[in-house]
């Protein structure tokens, strides 16, 4: 059991093991926690509205201005901006821990783009699958209503009644990308990257295959400072130039507002009790760790006096417990380090806070086959709704691998646990299915973003190209083994096969004058070589990369198959012809399963059309290449025989023609036959169908470029007869298919030949 997690910069995902034992919290205890969290969320909203607005807290002396301005998330371009939708915070998170006396403490606030909410959901799904009866019998509170409230809260903030809600992701390299794709799919949001969005005429739009479509709400998982390279961090490539101006214009709801990360500063903590009394007229229901901001002279003096009893932490910035730049215990670091820290606190106290060291209570986990106590931290979430704050009953629990129970020593956690809030009464069954609301039936979900179309198309092309490589290898290996057994010399034809693999980029080009590689060497390179751009291994990698960007659109089964395929290509190279044959065979079976899934388990809407077009265009081009080599004007019977193998048409051919191999019938079957799913003509017909179903930008009755090209190509293929075909015509078909692919890219995909942000260097004096 476990969830996927990526350590920054790592290409492979890691499993974050899920503890078999959920953290159990009783209903009454939870009610107290939830009230404390909701109050804190309300307080933070008030702080943000004041700091970016009238500034009463600082003017009245409840909060020093310098305790605000030190935060890298205090984004000055947002000062004075009225948040569209009326809120700075839509989703608030807080890390809490339980003290040895059973009291819960707030350890740190999260408002930048709180992560973990998707992990909490996934943990729950895994646990309820593993212990279905237990969860029901123990009356575990459900998570789905929380997500519904969150979604409704976002939708209610928008201007339009049927808003388009986007989840803005930093992309597949983000450490929580998996969580983001998971949430986008679960909540029905459009997963977008910065490039997918554009600000135009004061509004934000998604670039789709049907042109620009308005984005009403953006749930951002990109840090606030990175959302707009024009007004915020100019080095950002993750944002949307002009987004801040659209916010100012009131035209797009961004959740949480850029700049909300400000409230994560530890410098604020010490001032919160008095702020709560001033803004809410209430005392804080949940205490937080006692914290002193060393920007105040008295506090600095106290902290320096009790230096070794406290934890020292940066006053600003988000580095959490256990992270580099996070809190340290002066008493436990090297003396030289300790003196340096002390000097820094004396000189620039404003950069530091001192915090009381608190201990956490533990939860049992399995360690080496028995139960052991380990400290844990729980992240709890609150979502803003029209009726106030809704707190998720449960949360994301991270359990330390160290027995040390001091909160400062709690690492980022090595395992996670589901959190069960137990009710005394049975819990109503509920999922995201709306119950009483009226649901409008929809068969098409919005418009496909151009980037998704692009990646689906290339995912299809790479898979198809991989299939062609595997087919070439399988035929080469099988025929070589036959030839070795003395069933005939096909050496010239086999030579052509090898040359094709070389031209394909799948096998290394031999030195000038050197003989072609032997079949095993060529097959090994074509399947396993990481350096050959046309090898199955490289092609699977590319397919996998394209798939990772559109992961929310692929089924779990498809993703697993792609991983299996990758596993085949990453394996140790086969050492015999038979071994290579086996691998190629297994790859073809996985590819067939993927093709089947794509046809039978994918909604036949625009996304599927691009995936299938990618396949079709690639197969058409590859088949032309096969035909140019093995069905040219001087093709031998051996050549034609191989070609039929490559296009999987031996059986059909033999049942249709008893005369044996002849050029015209093979060419017809390979290029024109509209009933043969491997023929070029068949691919063209499918491409034509797909393009006819896609949206047009202008309703002027004229064909757009891709449609025009395919109509002509189809007319030519339909009206041609086998006798007219010659090498020149096959080449022309191949080139026209390539032009078609270019036209599809130009019309539907993002045009980004290198977007770059530049600060003009001036001639500085």
């Amino acid at each position: 059991m476990g969830i996927s997690y990526r350590v920054h910069g790592e290409a492979q995902e890691r499993a974050w093991p899920l503890s078999r034992l959920p953290l159990l919290i009783g209903e009454a205890e939870w009610a107290e926690i939830a009230a404390g969290v909701a109050q804190r969320a309300q307080l933070m909203e008030a702080v943000l509205a004041d700091v970016y607005g009238p500034g009463r807290l600082t003017a009245e002396g409840l909060l020093p201005a310098a305790a605000v301005t030190g935060s890298p998330d205090y984004l000055r371009p947002l000062a004075g901006v009225k948040p569209p939708g009326g809120r700075w915070l839509n989703l608030y998170g807080v890390d809490i821990g339980r003290g040895p006396d059973g009291r819960w403490w707030a350890l740190g606030d999260r408002a930048q783009a709180p992560s973990g909410v998707g992990y909490a959901l996934e943990n729950r799904l895994v646990m309820s699958r593993a212990f279905p009866a237990l969860a029901r019998e123990m009356n575990v509170a459900r998570l789905a209503p929380f997500f519904r409230a969150f979604r409704a809260g976002l939708a209610a903030a928008a201007e339009r009644s049927q808003p388009r809600i986007c989840l803005l992701t930093p992309g597949p390299w983000s450490e929580t990308y998996f969580e983001q794709t998971y949430l986008a799919r679960y909540l029905g949001f459009l997963l977008v990257e910065g490039d997918d969005l554009i600000e135009q005429d004061g509004r934000v739009h998604v670039r789709t295959i049907a042109g620009l479509k308005r984005a009403d709400v953006i749930w951002r998982r990109v840090d606030g400072d990175f959302v707009d390279p024009l007004e915020l961090n100019g080095g950002s490539r993750l944002g949307v130039p002009g987004l801040v101006s659209a916010i100012r214009n009131g035209a797009v709801v961004v959740a949480n507002m850029p700049g909300a990360g400000l409230i994560e500063s530890r410098a604020l903590l010490g001032f919160l009790p008095q702020i709560a009394r001033r803004m809410l007229g209430e005392d804080l229901r949940m205490p937080h760790i006692a914290t002193w901001w060393c920007g105040q002279e008295d506090a600095r003096g106290d902290v320096l006096a009790r230096f070794d009893q406290l934890a020292l932490a940066p006053a600003f910035g988000a580095a959490g417990v256990g992270e580099p730049g996070g809190p340290v215990l002066p008493a436990e670091i090297a003396p030289a380090e300790r003196e340096r820290l002390r000097a820094q606190v004396s000189a620039r106290g404003a950069d530091f806070v001192g915090q009381e060291v608190v201990s956490l209570s533990t939860t049992p986990v399995w360690v080496d086959g028995k139960l052991a106590p380990r400290p844990f931290v729980l992240r709890v979430y609150a979502a803003a709704t029209a009726d106030g704050w809704t707190v998720m009953p449960g949360g994301f629990c991270r359990i330390s691998d160290e027995p040390d129970a001091r909160a400062v020593r709690m690492g980022s956690g090595v395992r996670s646990a589901d959190v069960w809030v137990l009710s005394d009464a049975p819990v109503a069954m509920e999922t995201l299915l709306p119950s009483s609301e009226n649901v409008a039936i929809r068969r098409l979900l919005g418009n496909l973003p151009s980037r998704a179309a692009d990646n689906l198309f290339w995912y299809g092309r790479y898979l198809e190209r991989c299939e062609a490589t595997a087919r070439l290898v399988r035929v080469l290996v099988a025929r070589t083994m036959e030839a070795d057994l003395g069933s005939g010399g096909m050496s010239e034809t086999l030579g052509r096969l090898k040359n094709l693999l070389v031209a394909w980029g799948a096998a290394p080009r031999p030195e000038k004058g050197a003989p072609a590689p032997d079949a095993l060497t060529a097959a090994q390179a074509a399947l396993f070589s990481p350096g050959q751009y046309g090898s199955a291994r490289e092609l699977v990698q590319r397919a996998r990369h394209a798939a990772s960007v559109i992961r929310e659109r692929l089924s779990v089964d498809a993703w697993r198959l792609v991983r299996d395929l990758d596993g085949q290509a990453q394996g140790a190279p086969a050492e015999t012809l038979a071994g290579a044959h086996d691998t190629a065979d297994r790859m073809l079976r996985i590819l067939a399963a993927l093709a089947g899934l794509a046809q039978e388990n994918t909604n036949h809407v625009a996304g599927w059309r691009f995936l299938d077009m990618g396949r079709r265009v690639e197969r058409g081009i590859n088949t032309c290449r096969f035909a140019r080599v093995f069905a040219d004007d001087v093709a031998t019977a051996d050549d034609l025989d191989i070609l039929l193998d490559l296009i999987d048409s031996q059986i059909t051919y033999r049942s249709r023609y008893v005369i044996g191999m002849a050029l015209a019938p093979v060419r017809d079957m390979c290029l024109l036959d509209p009933f043969n799913p491997r023929s070029v003509g068949f691919q063209i017909a499918r491409l034509s169908e797909h393009l006819a179903q896609l949206p047009t930008l202008i309703e002027d009755g004229l064909f757009e470029e891709p449609r025009r090209l395919v109509a002509r190509l189809q007319a030519d293929a339909q009206s041609a007869n086998a006798e007219e075909i010659d090498a020149r015509l096959i080449l022309a078909y191949e080139q026209r298919l390539m032009s078609l692919a270019d036209a599809v890219a130009a019309r539907y995909f993002l045009q980004r030949p290198g977007k770059s942000a530049r600060r003009a260097p001036s001639s500085l004096g």
């Binding site: 700091v51 500034g55 600082t58 003017a59 009245e60 002396g61 020093p64 201005a65 310098a66 605000v68 301005t69 030190g70 890298p72 000055r76 371009p77 000062a79 390279p229 024009l230 007004e231 961090n233 100019g234 130039p241 002009g242 101006s245 920007g295 105040q296 002279e297 600003f316 000189a347 620039r348 404003a350 950069d351 045009q751 980004r752 030949p753 290198g754 977007k755 770059s756 942000a757 530049r758 600060r759 003009a760 260097p761 001036s762 001639s763 500085l764 004096g765």
Partner: protein, 295 residues
């Protein structure tokens, strides 16, 4: 009090190797109306014609203009013309407050307004306090010394210790590198001085602008030979307020200095900043003329 009227031309021209399909730029080219200077007339000509031009004011009170060009173009030129009147009164040469008291006052500050010293105490995108720079500054700014006197000495030391070398650094050079090499241009000196002042707790901000250059005797001023300039504003306590110090020339900002914009560092005040959609290299040409017409 000297009063000078300037006619300023500031041209920024890009030549792109391949066509650029769209460009969004933020311009900070209008001289500030601030203590000691008034912008009497101002205009910016942009070629090609932008589809949208939107004037505004940024957080720091600088005039900004956002422009959007969405037609394909191979070159972009932005030419600003300003008539500015400068007359800065002479002010006392000491702050009347020690470094320690200035630092403490900044931390007690209650305002979040743009001029509030609280904004200029911490690390900003291009200026992070660095121990070595702080130690360098501390020699001139011991806690009990008058803040302005200390800052003036720091300015003079930077001028004396650092070589002015236009080729040594570019806009992207981190200040630690320029500090270690003891050379750079006005931007590097301003960033180093800001880092040093902030390091000892004295608020400091970046000023971008122009400086009048006096041609060598007997020679005529060359067209376009002037440059954009940068210096430092130091906060010297509630009474003395902000004071401009120019570490490149080791002088206080006076009648020869024309302010364009202020911010935490260069990243807040870049005169022309843009995002373009296009591939390939670009050639940049900047020409500045600062011509006194009166005074």
């Amino acid at each position: 009090m000297r009063r000078v009227l300037y006619d300023i031309r500031h041209l920024t021209a890009y030549d792109y190797a391949s066509t650029v399909s769209s460009a969004r730029c933020v311009l900070r080219l209008k001289p500030r109306d601030a203590a000691g200077q008034r912008c009497r007339a101002h205009g910016v000509a942009v070629k090609p014609q932008p589809r949208r031009r939107q004037p505004g004011v940024d957080f720091f009170g600088n005039a900004v203009e956002s422009i959007l060009i969405d037609a394909p173009h191979g070159a972009l030129s932005i030419e600003a013309r300003s008539i500015v009147e400068v007359s800065r009164p002479a002010r006392p040469s000491s702050a009347g407050e020690s470094v320690e008291r200035v630092a403490a006052a900044a931390l007690r500050e209650r305002a979040l307004a743009p001029d509030s010293p609280a904004h200029y105490l911490y690390a900003s995108p291009l200026v992070a306090p660095v121990e070595a720079v702080t130690a360098y500054a501390r020699n001139s700014l011991p806690t009990s010394r008058d803040a302005l006197e200390g800052a003036r000495e720091l300015m003079a030391r930077i001028r004396a210790d650092f070589d002015y070398e236009p080729e040594a650094t570019d806009v992207a050079t981190p200040l630690t590198e320029a500090f270690a090499a003891r050379r750079g241009v006005c931007q590097d000196f301003a960033h180093i001085m800001i880092a040093g002042l902030r390091g000892v707790g004295v608020p400091a901000r970046y000023v971008s602008g122009y400086i009048r250059t006096i041609p060598p005797p007997g020679e005529k001023r060359l067209d376009g030979a002037d440059a954009t300039h940068a210096w430092v504003d130091v906060w010297c306590g509630e009474t003395a307020g902000w004071r401009g110090l120019d570490p490149t020339n080791a002088i206080e900002a006076g009648a020869d200095h024309i302010e364009l914009a202020v911010g935490r560092d260069f990243s807040d005040v870049s005169p022309v900043y843009g995002v373009i959609l296009g591939a390939g290299e670009q050639k940049l040409e900047v020409a500045v003329d600062v011509v006194p017409i009166e005074g």
